[in-house]
Protein backbone atom coordinates (compact mmCIF):
# COMPACT_ATOMS: atom_id res chain seq x y z
CA UNK A 1 0.00 0.00 0.00
CA UNK A 2 0.94 3.64 -0.11
CA UNK A 3 2.52 4.66 3.18
CA UNK A 4 1.98 8.23 4.29
CA UNK A 5 2.61 10.28 7.36
CA UNK A 6 0.77 13.30 8.70
CA UNK A 7 2.47 16.64 8.28
CA UNK A 8 3.48 18.44 11.47
CA UNK A 9 0.59 20.39 13.02
CA UNK A 10 2.51 23.63 12.57
CA UNK A 11 2.64 23.23 8.81
CA UNK A 12 -1.08 22.44 8.66
CA UNK A 13 -1.81 25.42 10.91
CA UNK A 14 0.01 27.51 8.33
CA UNK A 15 -2.40 26.31 5.63
CA UNK A 16 -5.47 27.46 7.54
CA UNK A 17 -4.12 30.69 8.96
CA UNK A 18 -6.83 33.33 9.00
CA UNK A 19 -9.47 30.84 7.87
CA UNK A 20 -12.69 30.27 9.77
CA UNK A 21 -14.25 27.18 8.30
CA UNK A 22 -12.26 24.12 7.48
CA UNK A 23 -13.12 20.63 6.26
CA UNK A 24 -10.82 17.71 6.98
CA UNK A 25 -11.31 14.88 4.50
CA UNK A 26 -10.00 11.41 5.25
CA UNK A 27 -9.60 8.37 3.03
CA UNK A 28 -10.52 4.78 3.87
CA UNK A 29 -7.86 3.37 1.53
CA UNK A 30 -4.16 2.85 2.17
CA UNK A 31 -3.84 5.76 4.60
CA UNK A 32 -6.44 4.25 6.91
CA UNK A 33 -4.46 1.04 7.05
CA UNK A 34 -1.21 2.86 7.77
CA UNK A 35 -2.92 5.00 10.41
CA UNK A 36 -2.22 8.29 8.70
CA UNK A 37 -5.49 9.54 7.25
CA UNK A 38 -8.50 7.45 8.24
CA UNK A 39 -11.56 8.46 10.27
CA UNK A 40 -9.57 8.32 13.47
CA UNK A 41 -6.70 10.46 12.24
CA UNK A 42 -9.19 12.93 10.78
CA UNK A 43 -10.73 13.15 14.26
CA UNK A 44 -7.39 13.74 15.91
CA UNK A 45 -6.27 16.42 13.47
CA UNK A 46 -9.64 18.18 13.57
CA UNK A 47 -9.63 18.10 17.35
CA UNK A 48 -6.08 19.46 17.58
CA UNK A 49 -6.96 22.30 15.20
CA UNK A 50 -10.08 23.15 17.21
CA UNK A 51 -8.20 23.07 20.51
CA UNK A 52 -5.50 25.25 19.05
CA UNK A 53 -8.06 27.79 17.90
CA UNK A 54 -9.90 27.71 21.21
CA UNK A 55 -6.62 28.27 22.99
CA UNK A 56 -5.96 31.41 20.93
CA UNK A 57 -9.58 32.55 21.11
CA UNK A 58 -9.95 32.22 17.35
CA UNK A 59 -13.26 31.42 15.76
CA UNK A 60 -12.75 28.20 13.83
CA UNK A 61 -15.14 25.50 12.70
CA UNK A 62 -13.58 22.22 11.70
CA UNK A 63 -15.80 19.61 10.07
CA UNK A 64 -14.78 16.03 9.46
CA UNK A 65 -15.60 13.62 6.69
CA UNK A 66 -13.97 10.44 5.45
CA UNK A 67 -14.45 9.11 1.95
CA UNK A 68 -14.25 5.51 0.82
CA UNK A 69 -11.30 6.51 -1.36
CA UNK A 70 -9.91 9.74 -2.72
CA UNK A 71 -8.42 8.19 -5.84
CA UNK A 72 -11.70 7.43 -7.61
CA UNK A 73 -13.91 10.18 -9.02
CA UNK A 74 -17.18 8.59 -7.86
CA UNK A 75 -16.16 8.90 -4.23
CA UNK A 76 -14.86 12.41 -4.73
CA UNK A 77 -18.31 13.27 -6.12
CA UNK A 78 -19.85 12.36 -2.77
CA UNK A 79 -18.36 15.51 -1.34
CA UNK A 80 -20.54 17.81 -3.47
CA UNK A 81 -23.06 18.67 -0.78
CA UNK A 82 -20.44 19.28 1.86
CA UNK A 83 -18.39 21.46 -0.45
CA UNK A 84 -21.48 23.59 -1.06
CA UNK A 85 -21.27 24.60 2.60
CA UNK A 86 -18.41 26.90 1.55
CA UNK A 87 -15.25 26.01 3.39
CA UNK A 88 -12.29 28.37 3.51
CA UNK A 89 -9.97 25.40 3.24
CA UNK A 90 -10.22 21.67 2.61
CA UNK A 91 -7.50 19.56 4.17
CA UNK A 92 -7.08 16.23 2.45
CA UNK A 93 -5.73 13.41 4.55
CA UNK A 94 -5.12 11.06 1.63
CA UNK A 95 -1.93 10.32 -0.28
CA UNK A 96 -1.12 13.06 -2.75
CA UNK A 97 -3.58 11.59 -5.26
CA UNK A 98 -6.47 12.65 -3.01
CA UNK A 99 -5.84 16.40 -2.86
CA UNK A 100 -5.15 16.38 -6.61
CA UNK A 101 -8.43 14.65 -7.38
CA UNK A 102 -10.25 17.01 -5.01
CA UNK A 103 -8.61 20.04 -6.61
CA UNK A 104 -9.57 18.90 -10.08
CA UNK A 105 -13.17 18.12 -9.15
CA UNK A 106 -13.65 21.27 -7.04
CA UNK A 107 -11.42 23.82 -8.79
CA UNK A 108 -12.70 26.79 -6.80
CA UNK A 109 -11.85 25.26 -3.45
CA UNK A 110 -8.59 25.74 -1.60
CA UNK A 111 -7.27 22.22 -1.16
CA UNK A 112 -4.25 21.41 1.00
CA UNK A 113 -2.33 18.16 1.50
CA UNK A 114 -2.18 17.20 5.16
CA UNK A 115 -0.10 14.10 4.63
CA UNK A 116 3.31 13.51 3.19
CA UNK A 117 3.15 10.54 0.83
CA UNK A 118 6.22 8.53 1.67
CA UNK A 119 6.54 5.24 -0.18
CA UNK A 120 5.02 1.97 -1.35
CA UNK A 121 5.53 -0.46 1.44
CA UNK A 122 4.15 -2.83 3.98
CA UNK A 123 3.90 -3.15 7.75
CA UNK A 124 6.79 -5.06 9.29
CA UNK A 125 4.90 -4.95 12.57
CA UNK A 126 2.09 -2.80 13.90
CA UNK A 127 3.39 0.75 13.73
CA UNK A 128 6.43 -0.03 11.57
CA UNK A 129 6.33 0.34 7.81
CA UNK A 130 9.12 -0.15 5.30
CA UNK A 131 9.57 0.62 1.63
CA UNK A 132 9.35 -2.40 -0.68
CA UNK A 133 8.67 -1.07 -4.15
CA UNK A 134 9.61 1.85 -6.32
CA UNK A 135 7.05 1.25 -9.06
CA UNK A 136 9.74 0.79 -11.73
CA UNK A 137 7.08 -0.78 -13.91
CA UNK A 138 8.98 -3.99 -14.65
CA UNK A 139 9.15 -6.32 -11.68
CA UNK A 140 12.19 -8.59 -11.46
CA UNK A 141 12.24 -9.56 -7.78
CA UNK A 142 12.23 -13.26 -8.68
CA UNK A 143 15.85 -12.73 -9.77
CA UNK A 144 16.76 -11.65 -6.27
CA UNK A 145 15.28 -14.25 -3.98
CA UNK A 146 12.01 -12.36 -3.85
CA UNK A 147 13.57 -9.12 -2.67
CA UNK A 148 13.65 -5.82 -4.51
CA UNK A 149 17.09 -4.22 -4.69
CA UNK A 150 15.76 -1.28 -6.67
CA UNK A 151 13.69 0.03 -3.78
CA UNK A 152 15.53 -1.57 -0.91
CA UNK A 153 19.19 -0.96 -1.80
CA UNK A 154 20.25 2.65 -1.18
CA UNK A 155 22.00 2.67 -4.55
CA UNK A 156 19.46 0.46 -6.39
CA UNK A 157 22.31 -1.86 -7.33
CA UNK A 158 21.40 -4.79 -9.53
CA UNK A 159 24.72 -6.49 -8.90
CA UNK A 160 25.41 -5.88 -5.25
CA UNK A 161 26.32 -5.87 -2.44
CA UNK A 162 28.57 -2.81 -2.59
CA UNK A 163 31.67 -2.41 -0.48
CA UNK A 164 29.77 -0.54 2.19
CA UNK A 165 27.76 -3.52 3.36
CA UNK A 166 28.86 -4.41 6.86
CA UNK A 167 27.23 -6.63 9.43
CA UNK A 168 24.01 -6.85 7.45
CA UNK A 169 23.41 -3.11 7.43
CA UNK A 170 23.78 -0.44 4.80
CA UNK A 171 26.60 2.10 4.76
CA UNK A 172 24.12 4.95 4.98
CA UNK A 173 22.79 3.97 8.40
CA UNK A 174 22.83 1.14 10.88
CA UNK A 175 19.03 1.44 10.83
CA UNK A 176 18.87 0.41 7.18
CA UNK A 177 19.22 -3.28 6.42
CA UNK A 178 21.42 -4.21 3.47
CA UNK A 179 19.05 -5.98 1.14
CA UNK A 180 21.99 -7.32 -0.81
CA UNK A 181 23.28 -8.97 2.32
CA UNK A 182 19.96 -10.80 2.57
CA UNK A 183 19.91 -11.66 -1.13
CA UNK A 184 23.49 -12.96 -1.14
CA UNK A 185 22.99 -14.90 2.08
CA UNK A 186 19.86 -16.54 0.70
CA UNK A 187 21.56 -17.46 -2.56
CA UNK A 188 24.47 -19.05 -0.69
CA UNK A 189 22.21 -20.90 1.73
CA UNK A 190 20.23 -22.33 -1.14
CA UNK A 191 23.41 -23.31 -2.97
CA UNK A 192 22.36 -21.31 -6.00
CA UNK A 193 25.57 -19.38 -6.62
CA UNK A 194 25.96 -20.77 -10.13
CA UNK A 195 22.50 -19.74 -11.13
CA UNK A 196 23.15 -16.34 -9.64
CA UNK A 197 26.53 -15.82 -11.28
CA UNK A 198 25.37 -14.11 -14.49
CA UNK A 199 25.46 -10.33 -14.42
CA UNK A 200 22.06 -8.73 -14.10
CA UNK A 201 21.43 -6.92 -17.35
CA UNK A 202 21.41 -3.15 -17.52
CA UNK A 203 18.00 -1.96 -16.41
CA UNK A 204 15.60 -0.34 -18.83
CA UNK A 205 14.18 2.53 -16.80
CA UNK A 206 11.73 3.64 -19.46
CA UNK A 207 8.87 1.82 -17.71
CA UNK A 208 9.76 3.74 -14.56
CA UNK A 209 9.02 7.40 -13.75
CA UNK A 210 12.05 8.18 -15.91
CA UNK A 211 9.94 7.47 -18.97
CA UNK A 212 7.62 10.31 -18.04
CA UNK A 213 4.32 10.30 -16.10
CA UNK A 214 2.68 6.93 -16.56
CA UNK A 215 -0.81 5.96 -17.52
CA UNK A 216 -2.52 2.63 -18.03
CA UNK A 217 -5.49 2.25 -20.37
CA UNK A 218 -7.39 -1.04 -20.24
CA UNK A 219 -9.63 -0.97 -23.27
CA UNK A 220 -11.83 -3.81 -22.02
CA UNK A 221 -12.69 -1.75 -18.97
CA UNK A 222 -13.08 1.67 -20.53
CA UNK A 223 -16.71 2.63 -21.13
Amino acid sequence: MIIAERKPVDEIKGFIEGKKKVLVVGCRGCVTVCNAGGTKEVGILASLLRLDAQKDGRDLTVDEHTLERQCDPEYIDELVELVEKKYDAILSMACSVGPQFLARRYPKEKIYPSLNTCFIGGALAHGIWAEHCQACGNCIIHNFGGMCPISRCSKSLLNGPCGGSAGGVCEISKEVECIWHLIATKVMEENRLDEFAPIQPIKDWSSSRDGGPRKIVREELVK
Binding site: P8, V9, D10, K13, K40, G43, I44, S47, L48, R50, L51, D52, Q54, K55, G57
Partner: protein, 141 residues
Protein backbone atom coordinates in the same frame (compact mmCIF):
# COMPACT_ATOMS: atom_id res chain seq x y z
CA UNK B 1 -8.62 33.79 40.52
CA UNK B 2 -6.04 31.06 40.86
CA UNK B 3 -7.04 30.55 44.49
CA UNK B 4 -10.61 29.92 43.48
CA UNK B 5 -9.68 27.85 40.47
CA UNK B 6 -10.90 24.30 40.77
CA UNK B 7 -9.67 22.25 37.85
CA UNK B 8 -11.98 19.93 36.01
CA UNK B 9 -10.25 16.61 35.64
CA UNK B 10 -11.24 13.53 33.70
CA UNK B 11 -9.70 10.24 34.78
CA UNK B 12 -9.90 7.20 32.53
CA UNK B 13 -9.70 4.33 35.00
CA UNK B 14 -9.16 0.67 34.28
CA UNK B 15 -11.79 -1.54 35.91
CA UNK B 16 -9.21 -4.01 37.18
CA UNK B 17 -7.14 -1.61 39.22
CA UNK B 18 -7.66 2.13 39.36
CA UNK B 19 -11.44 1.88 39.34
CA UNK B 20 -11.44 -0.69 42.15
CA UNK B 21 -8.87 1.39 44.01
CA UNK B 22 -11.23 4.35 43.74
CA UNK B 23 -13.94 2.17 45.25
CA UNK B 24 -11.68 1.23 48.07
CA UNK B 25 -10.67 4.84 48.64
CA UNK B 26 -14.38 5.61 48.93
CA UNK B 27 -15.13 2.83 51.38
CA UNK B 28 -12.08 3.84 53.41
CA UNK B 29 -13.57 7.33 53.59
CA UNK B 30 -10.33 8.79 52.23
CA UNK B 31 -10.39 12.49 51.44
CA UNK B 32 -9.44 13.58 47.94
CA UNK B 33 -10.36 16.48 45.69
CA UNK B 34 -13.86 16.12 44.30
CA UNK B 35 -13.07 17.71 40.95
CA UNK B 36 -12.19 14.47 39.25
CA UNK B 37 -14.71 12.73 37.05
CA UNK B 38 -13.99 9.07 36.61
CA UNK B 39 -14.66 7.27 33.36
CA UNK B 40 -14.66 3.51 33.64
CA UNK B 41 -12.80 1.69 30.91
CA UNK B 42 -12.34 -2.09 30.64
CA UNK B 43 -8.57 -1.72 30.35
CA UNK B 44 -6.33 1.27 29.66
CA UNK B 45 -5.70 -0.46 26.33
CA UNK B 46 -9.15 0.89 25.46
CA UNK B 47 -7.91 4.44 26.00
CA UNK B 48 -7.64 6.29 22.73
CA UNK B 49 -6.13 9.70 22.12
CA UNK B 50 -9.41 10.88 20.67
CA UNK B 51 -11.07 10.35 24.09
CA UNK B 52 -8.62 12.70 25.73
CA UNK B 53 -8.96 15.21 22.91
CA UNK B 54 -12.74 15.18 23.27
CA UNK B 55 -12.37 15.71 27.00
CA UNK B 56 -10.17 18.74 26.39
CA UNK B 57 -12.54 20.04 23.74
CA UNK B 58 -15.37 19.74 26.26
CA UNK B 59 -13.49 21.87 28.75
CA UNK B 60 -11.36 19.53 30.84
CA UNK B 61 -8.33 21.18 32.44
CA UNK B 62 -6.51 17.91 32.85
CA UNK B 63 -6.85 14.30 31.81
CA UNK B 64 -5.17 11.26 33.18
CA UNK B 65 -5.22 7.58 32.48
CA UNK B 66 -4.85 5.17 35.39
CA UNK B 67 -4.02 1.57 34.74
CA UNK B 68 -2.48 -1.48 36.33
CA UNK B 69 1.13 -1.68 37.38
CA UNK B 70 3.38 -2.48 34.44
CA UNK B 71 3.54 -6.23 33.99
CA UNK B 72 0.17 -6.73 35.68
CA UNK B 73 -2.24 -5.77 32.92
CA UNK B 74 -5.21 -8.12 32.77
CA UNK B 75 -4.87 -8.00 28.98
CA UNK B 76 -1.08 -8.28 29.12
CA UNK B 77 0.03 -4.99 27.58
CA UNK B 78 -2.97 -2.64 27.50
CA UNK B 79 -1.28 -0.31 29.98
CA UNK B 80 1.92 -0.23 27.93
CA UNK B 81 -0.05 0.73 24.85
CA UNK B 82 -1.85 3.40 26.84
CA UNK B 83 1.47 4.75 28.07
CA UNK B 84 2.68 5.13 24.47
CA UNK B 85 -0.56 6.84 23.42
CA UNK B 86 -0.31 9.25 26.32
CA UNK B 87 3.30 10.03 25.40
CA UNK B 88 2.24 10.60 21.78
CA UNK B 89 -0.62 12.93 22.67
CA UNK B 90 1.55 14.88 25.10
CA UNK B 91 3.79 15.69 22.14
CA UNK B 92 0.82 16.69 20.00
CA UNK B 93 -0.45 18.99 22.78
CA UNK B 94 2.97 20.56 22.98
CA UNK B 95 2.89 21.13 19.22
CA UNK B 96 -0.19 23.31 19.58
CA UNK B 97 1.33 25.15 22.53
CA UNK B 98 -0.52 23.39 25.36
CA UNK B 99 1.29 22.24 28.51
CA UNK B 100 1.83 18.48 28.08
CA UNK B 101 1.48 18.00 31.85
CA UNK B 102 -2.25 18.40 31.44
CA UNK B 103 -2.18 14.78 30.37
CA UNK B 104 -0.66 12.01 32.46
CA UNK B 105 -0.47 8.27 32.93
CA UNK B 106 -0.51 6.60 36.36
CA UNK B 107 -0.17 2.99 37.38
CA UNK B 108 -1.53 1.38 40.54
CA UNK B 109 -3.10 -1.83 41.76
CA UNK B 110 -6.67 -2.52 42.92
CA UNK B 111 -5.55 -2.72 46.54
CA UNK B 112 -4.02 0.77 46.54
CA UNK B 113 -6.98 2.85 47.69
CA UNK B 114 -4.76 5.39 49.46
CA UNK B 115 -2.52 5.66 46.39
CA UNK B 116 -5.60 6.44 44.32
CA UNK B 117 -6.46 9.35 46.61
CA UNK B 118 -2.85 10.49 46.46
CA UNK B 119 -2.83 10.43 42.65
CA UNK B 120 -6.00 12.51 42.48
CA UNK B 121 -4.43 15.07 44.77
CA UNK B 122 -1.08 15.01 43.02
CA UNK B 123 -2.56 15.50 39.54
CA UNK B 124 -5.06 18.03 40.79
CA UNK B 125 -2.20 20.06 42.28
CA UNK B 126 -0.29 19.92 39.00
CA UNK B 127 -3.27 21.11 36.99
CA UNK B 128 -4.17 23.76 39.58
CA UNK B 129 -0.61 25.01 39.21
CA UNK B 130 -1.04 25.19 35.43
CA UNK B 131 -4.28 27.13 35.77
CA UNK B 132 -7.40 26.84 33.64
CA UNK B 133 -6.97 25.09 30.33
CA UNK B 134 -6.14 27.62 27.62
CA UNK B 135 -8.24 25.45 25.36
CA UNK B 136 -11.44 26.31 27.21
CA UNK B 137 -10.98 30.08 27.25
CA UNK B 138 -13.75 30.51 24.77
CA UNK B 139 -16.10 28.22 26.66
CA UNK B 140 -15.54 30.17 29.86
CA UNK B 141 -16.21 33.48 28.16
Amino acid sequence: MSEEFEPRIIAFCCQYCAYSAADMAGSMRLQYPCNVEIVLIPCTGRFDVILALKAFESGADGVYVAGCLEGNCHFLDGNIRAKKRVAYLRKELESIGVEPDRLAMYNLSASQGPRFAEIVKEFSDIVTGLGPSPMRKKLAA
